[in-house]
């Protein structure tokens, strides 16, 4: 019995280590954090940001995996939704960046000056696609 418990704990710890390390690695590759610090000019606070990420991960995995609830107002969901959307948006932008899609696309289609308008196409496309998904698509 003890061996069983210990091995399950070991497996859990090992899995958590791998996933946690992978998560941080992905964040590092996308460079979202440096970008946010560059915009807000708060390079000195990097340690607090690290703690914030760790706490966020711990909180969501703890509550999410254990089906716990904090039973508060649904309006709290609005800032949460906005923040998570912003994060995913940055992730998506960083992903197109890493894949080098835009420079090649701009070169191919030859609209170097209209980059902004084309970027807006992607941006509005994302927002529209997302709204469409939640409001209509999930009902199909």
């Amino acid at each position: 019995m003890t061996i069983k418990i210990l091995s399950v704990m070991l497996i859990g710890l090992g899995g958590g280590l791998a996933v946690g390390a992978g998560f941080v690695a992905v964040l590092t590759v996308f460079g979202i954090l440096p970008r946010l610090m560059q915009i807000s000019k708060t390079h000195a606070r990097i340690r607090s940001y690290e703690i914030s990420i760790i706490l966020g991960v711990l909180f969501s995995s703890w509550y999410g995996l254990r089906d716990m609830t904090i039973t508060s107002s649904p309006w709290l969901l609005v800032p949460i939704g906005l923040a998570s959307g912003t994060f995913i948006g940055m992730l998506a932008a960083a992903l197109t960046e890493v894949l080098n899609v835009l420079p090649i696309l701009m070169k191919r289609v030859g609209f170097k000056e209209q980059v902004l308008i084309l970027l807006m196409a992607i941006l509005f496309g994302k927002v529209f696609g997302s709204l469409f998904h939640w409001i209509f698509f999930v009902h199909l």
Partner: protein, 210 residues
């Protein structure tokens, strides 16, 4: 002509029109006695023809050779890059509105589809239902209160990342996209310098032989 030093620095890139003759003063910045500069500057290095396609690489050695042929006694000091990339600008294909609209729509629809696929891929709906439950303690199959701000946040996140979607920048630093475009152009330039160069030399050599 006496042996006064002339400093020569090849420009990185030069845009020319078809059938233009390329002189040294187009290719390089020259510093030295005015009279000498004037004379050197007029030396013709290359005449753009239809065979040049749209990129020609002029090597520094070619320029030096041309100068030495005319004025062997000039002391030339070179600074900076060893090649100039000449881009021949043929009549710019007029970007028609229709073409632009098609590309715009392509990106719009593609982005919309990509984000929907992403949501399905990571079971975003279930995650949102879970978040709704964690926060409120109630079940809701369609947590729009979370999802609509989420969708708007997507756009906001991209604006933040690219920094300059709506003209007004948050700060003066170049956005990651600017840097990325620059890097890409740099790589392209390096590629053509390495690859077009040797070919070009061969071509001019052939011409000289005939």
């Amino acid at each position: 002509m006496d042996a006064e030093a002339v400093y020569l620095r090849m420009r990185h890139k030069l845009h020319v029109s078809p059938n233009q003759t390329v002189r040294i003063k187009d290719l390089a910045q020259i510093v030295g006695p005015d009279l000498v500069i004037e004379k050197i500057g007029q030396i013709i290095i290359h005449k753009i023809t239809i065979h040049d396609k749209n990129i020609v690489i002029i090597d520094l050695m070619k320029v030096l050779k041309a100068i030495r042929d005319e004025y062997p006694s000039i002391d030339i000091q070179t600074i900076g890059t060893a090649q100039t990339i000449i881009e021949v600008q043929y009549k710019k294909p007029k970007m028609t509105g229709v073409y632009f609209v098609i590309v715009w729509l392509l990106l719009f629809i593609g982005a919309a589809l990509a984000i929907m696929n992403f949501h399905e891929d990571v079971s975003m709906q279930e995650v949102h239902q879970k978040i709704y439950y964690i926060v409120t303690g109630r079940e809701n199959d369609y947590p729009l209160l979370l999802q609509i701000p989420y969708s708007l946040g997507l756009g906001l996140g991209m604006v933040l990342f690219f920094n300059h979607i709506f003209k007004k920048r948050f700060n003066e630093e170049p956005s990651p996209l600017d840097v990325e475009m620059f890097n890409y152009q740099q790589d392209l330039d390096q590629y053509v310098v390495m690859n077009e160069n040797s070919e070009n030399e061969k071509k001019t050599h052939d011409n000289q032989n005939t």
